[in-house]
């Protein structure tokens, strides 16, 4: 079974993101880049499906600038067999729909039976690509997946997704798109042998022309990014407990209007 995992390279979760000189972009100086954590669940799940079935191929794919190769290399180190890098100036500033179109085109070429991705990237939290991709492919899609099981024949997948207070269980005919939620699995650490082996695996550059696509202007344009205003300092209420509690209740009611 061939599985394609779409991943995004995002700033490390510990990064304090700053607005850049161009106020529509973040300042990327000094940022450590990682594979978006939800996408790591997707990679892990794809590897588990392959290991459980005893055969198959896991292909990692990502769209972005040259640095994205490092993220793809991490996926290869975890155990993906090869990687595709959608690396073309035509995709600079691609919005979710342009990204989904590029992914759909590469998926049509690769013809995997299953596409896995994270439920959203942790940088812009848009969470739209998965659904747009499935729509463009005309494939069924389930998001926020907590469990999955591909049947022995590889024709359907049973997926359980997180809903308020429980799980909702679906059967989807394959091919399908699944988007991983936290809790689906615990991603493995790349082993040292895996890291050494990753260098020998292929990361193929894919250009828009290879997919029969031209430059597509993004329909969604970012007007600007704004940092949140700094939080006002907290207030410590002094005095003995009964007086302080009274004052706290008054402040919550009258000043903060929280209760």
């Amino acid at each position: 079974m061939k599985i394609l995992v779409a991943i995004k390279q995002v700033p490390d979760t510990a990064t304090q993101v700053k607005v850049g000189a161009d106020p529509r972009l973040i300042d990327t100086a000094g940022i450590t880049w990682i594979v978006s954590p939800y996408d790591e669940f997707a990679v892990e799940e794809a590897l588990r499906i392959k290991e459980k079935r005893g055969q198959g191929e896991v292909v990692a794919v990502s769209l972005g600038p040259e640095r994205v190769k490092e993220a793809l290399r991490s996926c290869l180190a975890m155990g993906c067999d090869r990687a595709l890098h959608l690396n073309d100036a035509a995709w600079n500033g691609a919005d979710t729909l342009a990204t989904a179109r590029a992914l759909a085109a590469v998926i049509k070429q690769e013809q995997p039976q299953l596409v896995l991705c994270g439920r959203q990237a942790i940088d812009d939290d848009m969470g739209a690509v998965t659904a747009q991709l499935a729509e463009l492919l005309g494939w069924p899609c389930a998001s926020w997946i907590m469990e999955e099981a591909v049947d022995a024949e590889g024709t359907t997948v049973r997926a359980a997704r997180q809903v308020e207070g429980g799980l909702e269980v679906f059967d989807l005919p394959l091919p399908a798109v699944l988007a991983a939620q936290k809790g689906l699995n615990e991603p493995r650490y790349p082993t040292l042998k895996g890291i050494m082996g990753a260098k020998k695996k292929e990361i193929r550059d894919v250009k828009a022309a290879d997919l029969g696509l031209g430059a597509e202007p993004s329909q969604l344009s970012v007007v600007g990014l704004e940092a949140l205003p700094p939080r006002p300092p907290g207030r410590i209420i002094q005095g003995d407990v009964p007086t302080a509690v009274k004052e706290l209740v008054r402040a919550l009611r009258e000043d903060a209007k929280a209760i």
């Binding site: 510990a14 490092e70 290399r73 991490s74 180190a77 650490y189 790349p190 082993t191 040292l192 042998k193 890291i195 050494m196 990753a198 260098k199």
Partner: protein, 390 residues
């Protein structure tokens, strides 16, 4: 405190290959997620998280530079970076990996028979089996050549008698690599399995340093082992010293890990801690300490990187390894002490990692060749005169 940010004042990152960086980052993540949440509890209890050994094996940490036998075949810089990251966690964690790799797998690989390699290396690589290294004795530390432990030939085996002290992982080891004098009066290496009659271990308690590490005494009383348990391809002090050279190399890198942990923590603390209405980082005396720490860390990083590159070329001399071990551990110990000072009273509690590293480094300063002994090794090398007091 914020997550550890790495320390690289001189753009040394650019001198590492992509694989070396990926390996460093993988171990850094592992230590952050799997080890650091446990360390305070183990440090308090004086225990080592033994359940992590198979996990380290799964990652490929043990014998990482060896080729074959399920090992990763890394270069020496990548191995050094692993040691650095493990010791940013705790010197005890790095010690466990150092011992297994440099002091147990290395001698079996370098001096062992094919049968010994086949039997032990794969299981030691996965962490399924744990090894320890017995050289130091109660009365013979810096002068191992005077050891008292004897291995006498009797029929179809050797009979070992003697005591080894300060042995990391002694009581949990499945296999001890023991150095003893044979009938020829020369030092030989012997593989002694746990459970061999006459072989017993006792843990050392009351330690104020390396608390999250197991330190034991090994005792051999008419302990009989088969002839094939002797390491066939080495004789004399060169055997154990070759192992120590491996382990000392790892320590030189490890010390950077402990030092950067202390420096990064102290820097963040000094920027946040307000006294006299200013962050204490704004005071000249505090800045002087931080600058000293960073400068020494940077020098140590460059020393290790070049040593690793030399080692990969097969051109590193033991005296150069001595210099890196001597310099880097002293720099780390001093860095930990200064960091402790910057944290003031907070520096003595285990809510912060400083005091733990500081106490650990007192051991690291002494073991695998004391600071003074390494000084004499380099002194002899440059003057041609032996100052070992003989």
């Amino acid at each position: 405190m914020e997550k550890f940010r790495g320390v690289d004042y001189y753009g040394i990152e650019a001198l590492l290959s992509e694989e070396e960086r990926m390996i460093r980052d993988a171990i850094r993540d592992w230590v952050e997620t799997e080890f650091l949440p446990l360390v305070t509890e183990h440090h308090r209890a004086g225990t080592f998280p033994v359940q992590l050994l198979p996990k380290l094996g799964e990652l490929g940490v043990f014998g990482a530079t060896l080729k074959g036998y399920g090992c990763a075949g890394l270069n020496n810089v990548a191995y050094g970076l692993i040691m650095q990251e493990l010791e940013r966690g705790d010197s005890g964690l790095r010690s466990a990996a150092s011992v297994q790799s440099g002091l147990v797998m290395h001698p079996i690989h370098a001096y062992g028979s094919d049968a010994q390699k086949e039997r032990w290396l794969p299981a030691l690589a996965t962490g399924e089996k744990v090894g320890c290294f017995g050289l130091t004795e109660p009365d013979h530390g810096s002068d191992p050549g005077s050891m008292k432990t004897r291995a006498r030939r009797q029929g179809d085996g050797y009979v070992l008698n003697g005591t080894k002290l300060w042995i990391t992982n002694g009581s949990i080891a499945d296999l001890a690599v023991v150095w003893a004098k044979g009938d020829d009066g020369e030092i030989h290496g012997y593989l002694v399995e746990r459970g061999t009659p006459g072989f017993s271990t006792l843990d050392i308690h009351g330690k104020f340093s390396m608390r999250a590490s197991i330190t034991s005494e090994l005792s051999f009383q008419d302990c009989r082992i088969p002839l094939e348990n002797e390491l066939p391809h080495v004789k004399g002090l060169r055997g154990p010293l070759g192992c120590l050279n491996q382990a000392r190399y790892g320590i030189a890198w490890g010390a950077i890990g402990a030092a950067t942990a202390c420096y990064d923590w102290a820097l963040q603390y000094a920027q946040q801690r307000v006294q006299f209405a200013k962050p204490i980082a704004s005071f000249q005396l505090v800045q002087q300490k931080l600058v000293w720490m960073l400068t020494e860390i940077t020098k140590a990083q460059l020393l290790c990187l070049q040593l690793g590159r030399l080692k990969d070329l097969g051109a590193a001399r033991p005296q150069q390894v001595s210099m890196a071990k001597m310099n880097n551990v002293q720099m780390a110990l001093e860095t930990a002490r200064l960091a402790r000072d910057i944290l003031g009273a907070a520096g003595i509690v285990d809510e912060h990692p400083i005091i733990r590293h500081m106490l650990n480094l007192e051991t690291v300063n002494t073991y695998e060749g004391t600071h003074d002994i390494h000084t004499l090794i380099i002194g002899r090398d440059i003057t041609g005169l032996d100052a070992f007091g003989v």
